[in-house]
């Protein structure tokens, strides 16, 4: 896992040994050590109740860690109230002040900081131009669409040039098309303004599209923190493998491990070779993770001994447009998915007996589920 004890110069935020409990009985955040680098777009991804929002709220100052410390730069902020943290925040439901106009909303952080009227006017105008809503300055939030409101919330969180911007599922309330558009817009702002963004979402597609790094949360623990491609290609445990993207799981017992390669005897018969990523020694149980697009369907025996090969029955072919999804029944997994590139399923029909073939390097032996 990332995040050493010594902060490097480009570390902006550091969580050290942070724990949080609400009821004094179970920990919502179990033990968090996390470094956030200056200028990066870090996403906290996880199912609801995984501790990601609590982590964000502790950083914003709305929740106090039960244990551990949070630093911004070198300054411990555990006892700094939210309004002195200089962190911009975008909320899920925008939280635009309904009794103020768009202009007054965006001017609010400047006016509480005692910025002069002329400068406020200038900076608010610039911020509204940035989100291309200058013409709606005198409207009230209730008169704007969801997407427009979210852009105003963004302008309001950025107008005072905070060191750090937090976003708590900011696009959750928008429809799909608008959400995708806003993802690009936020990403663009991040790049042009050199912002440091901590972004919370439960939408893995959003996380993969936008982030420099993703921290996957589950059960109060950061399961893995890595670049999006690494997270997808090289998950370190079964939770991450299953949570990010589509995944096929085969269960079995490790027979032996040699040079990082494990031979695994599947519970339903047959054996495969896999990368030993997160397994015990010989005799321990494991779950194998194979991405659907890394599997080929073979109708005959190709005789390639370096490839894992399992018998299967094709049960369904689903046309998805850019690819075709094949559902196969194998003894180990009755719903094994294979993504076939467009136009490559000629000659296949449901009910056919085939082989699924995948390379050992595309098969990762992880902790048992």
């Amino acid at each position: 896992m990332d995040g050493g004890m010594i902060a490097t110069t480009d570390t902006l935020v550091r969580f050290t040994g942070v724990q949080k409990t609400y009821d004094g009985e179970h920990l919502v955040v179990k033990s968090l050590d996390l470094d956030i680098r200056k200028g990066e777009f870090l996403t906290l991804l996880g199912p609801s109740g995984s501790g990601k929002t609590t982590t964000l709220m502790m950083l914003a100052g709305f929740e106090v860690p039960t244990h551990g410390e949070i630093f911004i730069g070198d300054r411990p902020i555990k006892n700094v109230p939210p309004h002195k943290r200089d962190i911009g925040m975008v909320f899920q439901n925008y939280a635009l002040f309904p009794h103020l106009t768009i202009e007054e909303n965006v001017a609010f952080p400047l006016s509480v900081r005692g910025v002069s009227k002329a400068e406020t006017k200038e900076r608010v105008a610039a911020a509204l131009d940035m989100i291309k809503l200058g013409n709606l300055a005198s409207r009230r939030p209730g008169q704007l669409s969801g997407g427009q409101q979210q852009r105003v919330a963004l302008a309001r969180a950025l107008v005072f040039n905070p060191a750090l911007v937090l976003m708590d599922e900011p696009l959750g309330a928008l429809d799909k098309r608008l959400r995708e558009h806003m993802q690009l817009e936020i990403k663009h702002l991040h790049e042009t303004m050199g912002l440091t963004v901590v972004y919370v979402t439960h939408d893995q597609g959003e996380a993969l599209t936008m982030s420099d790094r993703i921290a996957v949360f589950n059960d109060g623990i950061v399961q893995q923190i890595d670049r999006p491609d690494a997270l997808y290609e090289r998950p370190v445990n079964s939770f991450v493998a299953n949570f990010i993207g589509e995944n096929n799981v085969l269960s079995g017992v490790v027979e032996n491990i040699e040079h990082g390669w494990a031979r695994v005897a599947l519970d339903a018969g047959g054996s495969v070779v896999a990368q030993a990523v997160n397994v015990g020694g010989a005799g321990s149980r494991t779950s194998l993770s194979i991405r659907p697009e890394r599997v080929a369907i073979e109708t005959g025996d190709s005789g390639d001994a370096t490839t894992n090969r399992l018998p299967a029955t094709l049960t369904d072919l689903i046309y998805v447009g850019d690819h075709t999804l094949a559902i196969l029944s194998t003894p180990s997994n009755p719903e094994f998915m294979v993504k076939l590139p467009a136009g490559s399923y000629a000659g296949l029909a449901p009910g056919q007996d085939v082989y699924i073939a995948f390379r050992p390097e595309d098969c990762r032996a992880l902790d048992p589920v």
């Binding site: 109230p81 943290r85 439901n93 002040f97 009794h99």
Partner: protein, 416 residues
Amino acid sequence: MTAAFVAGADVPLKRRLKRAERARQFRALGLVLPLLAFLLFTFVVPLAGMIWKSVDDWEVPQVMPQTVAALEQWNGQGLPDEAAYAALAADIRTAREAGTLAVAAKRLNYVVNGFRTTLLSTGRKLKEQPAPGTAKATMIEIAPAWGERESWAAIKSASGPVTSYYLLAAVDLTRNPDGDIVHAPADQSIYRDVFLRTFEIGFGVTALCLILGFPVAFMLANLPTGRSNLLMIFVLLPFWTSLLVRTCAWIVILQSEGIVNGSLQWLGIIEEPLRLIYNRFGVYMAMTHVLLPFMILPLYSVMRGISPAYMRAAASLGAPPVTAFLRIYLPQTIPGIGAGCLLVFILAIGYYITPALVGGAADQMISSFIAFYTTETVNWGLASALGAVLLLSTLVLALLYGKLALGRQTTGGLKN
């Protein structure tokens, strides 16, 4: 084109829409009809009746119709002619026999003090209708008042069918014999003071309720539902006890030998019992207690709808708690403050039992005067006029509030 479409095409679309809507409108009307009928008979009709009573002037025209007719030609200068005296004599004799003379006497006595005696003694002494041509002399001989223009002006002013007398009296004004509006004599000028006192107590109680109720509503709105429901029961508890019982409880608590004075004396803080009741303090205390829920409930319902995200957003944008409260939270509670204040104020200015029980003579509000004129002296005209003035001032306030609330709505103030 289908046949159905063509069949309806000769009727314009707008009319077809109206026809379709009409059934729905009738159904809606049917549903509110019972309430409308109820309101009509229990609210609109009595209200209209009350307002009519405040201008209705029926006594003199009914009891003394001939005099009223005879005075129609009188220009108000000097004394009326012989015919008017004869008519007066005839009317008095008829009314005395019918036993209705006292009714007119009471009405005329409002205008001129002592008119009652004049009229009733004239009725007693006038044994027979004076011979033609001698009516004037006879009447003046019986009662010298008939030789004064003021008496006749009083009859003319009370000869209906409507009068501004009661409404003017309700705001300490009256008409002099020439018909000009002037201040009422000092000994009859009490209502302006009473109205002022009523509004003063109303404003005071409203302010106290707001000061006490706002923090309570805030706490209730921000507690977890379970605990806030429990505390809400305490807020609503007073509603489950009769007003009279609650007011009497205050007497027990605040009187000279009451719990408060007893405790303070026992603790040695005071030597003599404090005067806590039968004065303004007692009125404020008891009324604030009774009306507090009416402030808390609208405040609570508005505050419940204010998402805690606003305060968090304000904090994240750099506003210290006090600034965030004043600039973000407080403005959003204004609809609740407005509704609560309006409710409490309107209820407070109509209060009757509580000030009567825990207030002194100088703490009586306008309602007790209305009750006094309704039940004690049966001067329904003045009671109605006082009620009408109270109603009018309440309406003005309600309209003002409506305008403020509406003004906020049209400029936004919507929730996300």
